[in-house]
């Protein structure tokens, strides 16, 4: 061949020499056309075929076989379907739907209502609780649910370490559990415990579960349908694909209105929002909460309701109280200036909560006050006018002056050691709210003369447990019974030594608070207990170790052309996904019409044909262009 550059002229010089060029050229496009036509045909087929068969709208709307399915987009994987092991929100929500608990919480105001137990009473010494078990609850295999099942469930958790994995803390104070008759359950306690009507433990059928060898390994996901007695029965499960529940027509409170409930996975929340817009799902779970942008994009959409629900979380700024272990040894290196309550209060008074709600949460949160969110009206507490640490940077500056932290020549406040005050704030790198508020704190506290170092990490657990922080962004979900979130600030929750891990949240240890905590745990009168819990919150507020900034909303959305009505919790304004109870899904009423945006099969066919025509037209253009491009070769 010629000496031409391989990639350059060689090609052109060769071409005229090929005698069969014309013939060859003719053959190639024919093959290409054939292949392209086959491809196009396949596409048309998929589009055309797919649409009439499109299972999505059928799934989300009334199905053609008459079944009404409510489809919920979720993201969280199931950790286990065994009630003894599951701790994640999705898994425990499924257990709420498939098993009865002794008691439930009223959707209106979260007060305790009957579940598997119809009545309960405590002995005068407060140590024996007797529950009357209902006689109209049946397992889905036809057997009756009895007190014996409940006793067996609790006893298994008390004796088998594997069975205590998820809910062992509920039975830690149990002395003995017996079932004298099928309708009577007796629990004897070691010491009084006010949370006996808030035992969030699914009761399982003994005749099914006593065959399990090893509770730490059994995930309850192979033998479907799973025998249960809740409003729904678990009938299908594919990891990270879907969880299918069918209505339990014999449920003692009445059958759910939908025939089936399908939790389908959308790992990407934007995709889940798209699926809702399309009608492929009826509901997008607000866990995690929809972003302000997603909520805004859905707000004006036809047939979609955005439920901007008051959340069950508080979002706080925790200050290191000079972390110590139970044995008195110091943990970590919290800033000594924070031991002065005036400093802690001054810091919080320089936090503009209104800006946090308006700018960071874009309105999807409520201004913070007490430790327990307002949705639990019974326990909610607000500081009085005189007690309130309202936003007041001027007063904050005066408090710091009083505490002896004066400004130096550079305008920086200096500590007793003459060094400028600079606080390390622990923040979650995965939480945009932490970062945004951190920037504001730099500005607000900077104006006070205090430096801020934002320490945003993927994993905050390690420095947190080691007490290596001055302040930290903190938050917990609060249950209808607040015992747990209160317990994590008691001295008893501290680690035994600096090497141990305790249940404590922020190393708080306050005698007065602890006294109140013990008092509420032994107080069986709800009103009196609520009163004590409010005093505890007041104490926590004054101490300034847990400064609640906001209560973030749980933003979720659903299609009103698929769900006509659904109960929120609390019913006035509350969330649907992740309720403490089965109210939302149990009460959901399917919309009458089947005319969702999912489209009917006839439009599907039309669309399939249109798509096919478009593809073919595109192909025609392509072939024409190719012919024109190679026209010179044809001579």
């Amino acid at each position: 061949m010629d000496t031409n550059d391989q990639y350059g002229g060689q090609h052109d010089t060769r071409r005229p020499r090929i005698r069969h060029r014309g013939r060859t050229r003719g053959a190639v496009p024919r093959r290409v056309r054939l292949a392209a036509a086959a491809g196009a045909a396949a596409l048309v087929l998929t589009a055309g075929l797919a649409t009439p068969l499109d299972p999505a709208p059928r799934e989300a709307l009334a199905a053609d076989d008459g079944k009404r399915t409510l489809t919920v987009a979720v993201a969280q994987s199931v950790d286990s379907l065994s009630p003894f092991l599951a701790v994640r929100l999705l898994s425990t929500s499924i257990h709420r739907l498939t098993y009865e608990y002794l008691t439930n919480y009223d959707p209106e105001d979260n007060h305790v209502v009957p579940g598997l137990a119809t009545r309960w009473k405590s002995s005068p010494d407060k140590l024996t609780w007797t529950y009357t078990i209902r006689s109209d609850s049946k397992w889905s295999d036809g057997k009756r649910a009895t007190a014996e099942d409940a006793a067996w469930t609790f006893n298994t958790m008390m004796t088998d370490e594997g069975a205590a994995t998820a809910n062992g803390s509920f039975t830690a104070n149990f002395e003995e559990v017996t079932a004298p008759s099928p309708t009577e359950l007796v629990i004897r306690l070691k010491k009084p415990q006010a949370t006996m009507t808030a035992l969030d433990v699914p009761i399982v059928p003994r005749h099914v579960w006593e065959k399990v060898d090893d509770f730490s390994k059994f995930n309850n996901d192979k033998d479907l349908p799973v025998v249960g007695n809740g409003p729904f029965v678990l009938t299908g499960y594919k990891p990270d694909s879907y969880v299918r529940l069918e209505a339990n027509k014999d449920f003692w409170r009445g059958a759910p209105k939908f025939d089936a409930l399908l939790f389908r996975y959308y790992k990407d929340q934007d995709a889940a929002v798209s699926a809702l817009r399309k009608g492929e799902v009826s509901f997008v779970a607000g866990s995690p909460s929809l972003t302000p942008a997603q909520a805004a994009s859905l707000r004006n959409e036809k047939n979609i309701k955005v439920n901007d629900a008051p959340g069950r979380r508080f979002y706080a700024l925790a200050t290191n109280p000079g972390a110590k272990a139970k044995n008195g040894e110091k943990i970590g290196d919290g800033h000594p200036s924070l031991l002065d309550q005036r400093v802690r209060n001054a810091l919080f008074m320089a936090v503009d909560r209104k800006t946090v709600v308006d700018k960071v949460f874009q309105g999807h949160a409520v201004d913070g006050a007490g430790y327990i969110p307002p949705r639990y009206a019974h326990y909610f507490w607000e500081p009085s006018a005189g007690q309130e640490l309202a936003y007041d940077p001027g007063k904050a500056a005066r408090l710091l002056d009083q505490a002896g932290f004066m400004r130096n020549g550079d305008g920086k406040r200096v500590g007793k050691d003459g060094k400028p005050l600079n606080y390390r704030i622990l923040c979650h790198a995965t939480d945009p709210n932490d970062k945004a508020i951190g920037r504001y704190l730099e500005e607000w506290w900077g104006a006070l003369g205090i430096g801020v170092t934002l320490n945003c990490l993927d994993n905050v657990t390690d420095p947190w447990l080691a007490g290596e922080y001055d302040l930290a962004f903190d938050g917990w979900s609060v249950n209808p019974d607040p015992d747990f979130v209160l317990s994590i600030h008691t001295c008893g929750a501290l680690p035994a030594t600096p090497e141990d891990t305790g249940a404590t949240d922020n190393f708080i240890c306050d005698e007065k608070y602890d006294g109140l905590y013990a008092q509420q745990l032994a107080e069986y009168d709800p009103a009196e207990r609520a009163n004590i819990v409010q005093q505890m919150q007041s104490r926590l507020y004054d101490l300034g170790y847990m400064n609640v900034m906001t209560y973030p909303n749980a933003v979720e959305a659903y299609r009103t052309d698929q769900i006509e009505s659904i109960t929120t919790m609390p019913s006035e304004a509350g969330n649907i996904y992740g309720q403490d109870g089965y109210w939302g899904w149990w009460s959901a009423v399917p919309a009458d019409s089947g005319e969702g945006s999912g489209g009917s099969s006839s439009t599907g066919v039309v669309v399939g044909i249109v798509a096919g025509v478009v593809v073919l037209a595109g192909l025609g253009v392509f072939v024409a262009m190719r012919r024109r491009a190679t026209a010179e070769d044809r001579e």
Binding site: M1, Q6, Y7, Q10, H11, R19, H20, R21, T24, T46, L49, A50, L53, D54, P55, A56, E59, T69, S77, D79, S80, V87, G168, S169, K217, N219, G236, P239, D240, S241, Y242, R244, L262, R264, Y265, Y266, K267, D268, D270, A271, S274, A275, K278, E280, D458, N459, T461, D462, S477, F484, P495, D500, T501, A503, G598, G599, T603, V607, A629, T630
Partner: protein, 359 residues
């Protein structure tokens, strides 16, 4: 991930051509000697692969111990647990043992095919992997076949008519798509083809592998329907690589004398291409094919996430965020093993494709 793959073919080609220099005399020897040489070559490659696998086993244990985070704290975070429960968790996962004991236990079990128990799913790692593996293989396997075929066909055509409009547009398009982030393309496809724009309703599901509850043939159709968009995304992003490698390899061959000879014999142009040029130019592409084949197991984390595909990529992401050490280690081992096995296979096939290799 793609960056590694681009540099890898060169690497593979270099290893493969290595033995050529070593055995100059082999070509003259009798057939038996050639066979022995090949066997020695095979043994060397297999031994190398075995050593790599062992190294991966050891690395995976220590590498992921560097991830900060206490798995027990993560799993119990946000709920009521007693100190006794925490201790029992640690005991159960073997986290209370010294590191070297954890390591020997892990190695001993791994050799018997037991990769441990996932912390967060409370199930054997092997079970979780075998559950997700077919899903990933379905997605990436389908895409692999399509993008390889498309890349080879288009690459050949591009090279044969290089410099022409078709080549420039084709190569440009392939390069553009190759540079597009897959999750972004996936989201675009969801917005246009899933949700639908304007009067056109969506044609394909927004995500997932199946609707849930379908059985038999209806389920096959359902899964196929769900498969379309993720496969299209993967093919669009991946075919460019094969195209470019095929194109440049073929361009290298196009100056060769044997092609002139073939033409001089009067062969038709497409015969020259198909029978003479392409087979000789395919070697780098074969390397790439095997590397891609190894990668199919690793799945595609981003595409699996955007389309909510229940595969290994998504599992890996979840495992890392805990960190669910046994699951992370197990997946890392499986991913690495797939690449090592496929590379070894490529090495073993080379001598069959090109007799100069492996003598």
């Amino acid at each position: 991930m793609t960056a590694d793959a681009t540099s890898a073919p060169v690497e593979g080609a270099r290893t493969a051509s290595g033995p050529v220099k070593d055995g100059p005399g082999a070509a003259r020897g009798p057939r038996a000697r050639t066979t022995t040489a090949y066997l020695r070559y095979v043994a060397g490659k297999v031994a190398g692969a075995a050593v790599s696998l062992l190294a991966v086993l050891v690395t995976s244990f220590f590498l992921f111990r560097l991830i900060p985070g206490d798995p027990v704290k993560f799993m119990t975070g946000g709920r009521q647990v007693s100190t006794e429960q925490l201790a029992s968790y640690r005991r159960e996962f073997g986290l209370d043992l010294p590191l070297w004991q954890q390591f020997t236990g892990y190695c001993g079990k791994a050799l018997t095919g037991d990769l441990g128990t996932s912390y967060q799913f409370n199930a054997p790692v092997v079970d979780r992997i075998t559950e997700a593996l077919p899903n990933t293989l379905l997605l990436t396997g389908t895409a692999f076949v399509l993008y390889t075929a498309l890349g080879i066909v288009l690459g050949t055509r591009s090279a044969w008519r290089h410099g022409r409009l078709g080549d420039r547009v084709g190569t440009g398009l392939a390069l553009t798509l190759y540079s597009v982030p897959s999750f972004w393309l996936g989201l675009l496809l969801i917005i246009t083809l899933s949700v639908g724009i304007g009067p056109v309703p969506g044609l394909f599901p927004t995500g997932g592998m199946e609707s849930g509850g379908e059985e038999g043939f209806a389920r096959v159709l359902d899964v196929a329907h769900h498969l379309v968009l993720p496969v299209v995304t993967l093919v669009a992003v991946e075919y460019g690589q094969t195209l470019l490698v095929t194109r440049s390899a073929l361009l290298d061959e196009m100056g060769s004398d044997y092609l002139t000879t073939a033409r001089a014999k009067g062969l038709r142009d497409d015969l020259v291409r198909r029978r003479h040029a392409v087979p000789n130019a395919l070697l780098p592409t074969v390397t790439l094919i095997f590397i891609n084949l190894g990668r199919t197991v690793a799945g595609v984390i981003l595409v699996e996430t955007v389309f909510s595909w229940p595969g290994l990529g998504g599992l890996f992401y979840q495992a890392l965020s805990v960190p669910d050490l046994p699951l992370v280690q197990g997946l890392f081992f499986v991913f690495s093993a797939a690449v090592i096995v496929m590379n070894t296979l490529a090495d073993l096939i080379y001598p069959l494709l090109d007799p100069r290799v492996g003598r």
